[in-house]
Assembly symmetry: C2
Homo-oligomer: 380 residues x 2
């Protein structure tokens, strides 16, 4: 591994990854997920020297963060980052591959901050089948019969655990062992990504509160909260690590923006029409939650005053299954569903065309086609 | 300025500081405060290219963060960092001085995150005479008559603004224009500082909730929440930028820990005995807030069961002025006040002795003596 900007604390991450075969990793595969988790687990181990002097309370919080991160699913963002690196000619058998994979894994810590804080903001009680972090600490407070508000305690601890995740995301990047020149290319993209995702979350909150019902507003939230953060910037981060040229970066970013928005549009459709047995969420969940999606904005744009009133009355209400069915029929009849399906198809096509015309490696083009399929054609 | 790890975005910060005379800055002086604010203001200007594409909602949030940061007071942490750099021979007339001052200024963004999130956690309504960030956005929500909870909206926005401050703190460090070798020395200390302050805040919350009444527990919170974060690590950060040797770093860290704890102990005394006309806070404020300080822990350790019961009953209660006077008399009679004064004197002495025996420059030794005085002998 090249001489890094990091510290000896990172040694254990490099050591752990040195034992993993990185040459045939397919993003999303169990082997890829394992490799990312190896990087994350050894990073958490490297934090112990910092955490332990602060005593058991802090150790418990750091452990809660580690468990949350390790429970994380498909490692989508590291997968796109790794693919961006491969696309620009990154060599998984090369000396810098472990450092690159480690930097990709750091995206999972940014994501942990986003999710832990989002769960406070949305008052979500469970995630991935477990209590959310603020609920976990609320329950610990109750179990210990401490004085004061258990709810406020839970939120306070979760705010700080999210902050810790954000701070540690940077630490992992800077201790990944990247060469100084690679880190120099990485830093501004990393900065942009974090600003964009926080901006996207702020837009989302304001969209819900301020009631901007336009299609453009919903698309802008998709762009920054999902597309930029989940696909575009991860691909961009990987590409700059392999010193991609500007034309290839543009192509990957076009793919990332377009397929990323298409991914979110598919999510919007599943949130209303998805099969609960497949999605694991209640039928019509997004309607009951009152989400302001492109699907809803498009229906409002197309509908007359009466249709608009029916949609607005249903959003965020306690709906019966029959009422959910009625709203679904209305969205379909207005043509909003077809419109969103057409957007998904168009965006996927433009995204794939940009990559097809680029200098990305054939292997990466193949991966990106598969990833576009699973992002935009999934049932859950 | 040396070739940096940063991006062209930082150019405006460097340009702005190139016009400031850094050669005779005394930490805490108006000229020093101005120089830090110049770095911060030009950094915020450099973010606009990232912020503007996300639209007016995000621009408003970024503006709120900037106003919060620019209102910040004495720039204590950048002052200690600058002093650490001077102590190890940093040359304010040298080419790297603007980059160093910029990296020092980044501490104010970490502090902004800590304060914005702390104000949510403590449900504080005002700071520095202005509404806290969550209250500000709560009021904007009410003024706009948006649907939903104004309180939850305010907290949500403030959580994200705090996150933005933490992310931007890193961006400022990496765009400061530090030489790669300097950044390499800076990064692990920066990482440790952020972990420690978040750990200190977690200990503080748990101390209040979990009711550990020991002197050791209170001292540990002081160590990490205040001393490490306010003095020790800022000095350490500055010292490594000037490539200080390990013995000098040890001396500065000893000073930072000891004077930092003494600073907090003085704060604890002022929180109970301070003159409202000087401190700007209600008389006996810490008693009414129920703060678990070393002063209180020491009084509980010294008192019998009856004294302990009186103290515990008063903490966090709605106290009359006469009741505040009674508790003050009790703390004094138990010898807790003398004990804390003795700790302040002893810690200040050991901290100053460490620096006196070190290779710090005479000018820095002089500054550190003055700074110890104002940290530990103040009336507000």
């Amino acid at each position: 591994m090249s001489a890094g900007i990091g510290t000896p604390l990172s040694r254990s991450v490099a050591d752990a990854l040195a034992e993993v075969d990185l040459t045939a990793l397919t993003p999303g595969s169990p082997a890829f997920v394992d490799a990312v988790e190896t990087a994350l687990t050894s990073f958490f181990a490297s934090r112990r020297a910092l955490v332990e002097p602060l005593g058991p309370v802090f150790i418990d919080s750091a452990d809660a963060l580690e468990q949350f991160v390790i429970r994380g699913g498909k490692r989508t963002r590291p997968g796109f980052a790794w693919t961006g690196w491969l696309a620009a000619g990154g060599d998984p058998a090369g000396a810098d591959a472990p450092a690159v994979l480690t930097a990709c894994a750091a995206l999972e810590l940014v994501q942990a901050c986003a999710l832990v804080h989002d769960d406070i903001i949305d008052s979500s009680r469970t995630r991935r089948g477990f209590p959310t972090v603020h609920v976990d600490f609320e329950q610990r407070h109750r179990a210990a019969s401490w004085p004061g508000s258990a709810t406020e305690y839970g939120s306070a601890v979760a705010i700080l655990i999210g902050d810790l995740a954000l701070a540690w995301a940077d630490d992992l990047v800077h201790e990944a062992g990247l060469a100084p020149a690679a880190l120099q290319r990485f830093a501004p993209v990393w900065a942009a990504m974090r600003t964009e995702v926080l901006g996207g979350q702020l837009l989302d909150i304001n969209g819900e509160a301020g009631g901007d019902e336009s299609v453009d507003a919903a698309l802008r939230i998709n762009r920054y909260k999902t597309a930029a953060y989940t696909i575009e910037r991860p691909l961009h981060l990987g590409a700059v690590l392999a010193a991609a040229d500007p034309a290839l970066i543009d192509a990957l970013r076009t793919y990332g923006t377009d397929v990323g928005i298409a991914f979110q549009l598919r999510d919007d459709l599943l949130g209303v029409f998805g099969d609960p047995a497949v999605t694991g969420k209640p039928s019509g969940d997004d309607l009951r939650e009152g989400k302001r999606t492109v699907l809803i904005a498009e229906a409002l744009r197309r509908g007359d005053a009466a249709a608009g009133a029916r949609i607005r009355a249903g959003l965020g209400a306690e709906l019966t299954d029959a009422e959910v069915d009625d709203l679904r029929a209305l969205l379909t009849d207005l043509g909003a569903v077809d419109d969103v399906e057409r957007r998904i198809a168009d965006l996927t096509a433009t995204g794939l065309a940009a990559v097809a015309a680029s200098t990305a490696t054939p292997h990466a083009k193949q991966l990106l086609r598969t990833m576009a399929d699973s992002a935009t054609k999934r049932a859950a």
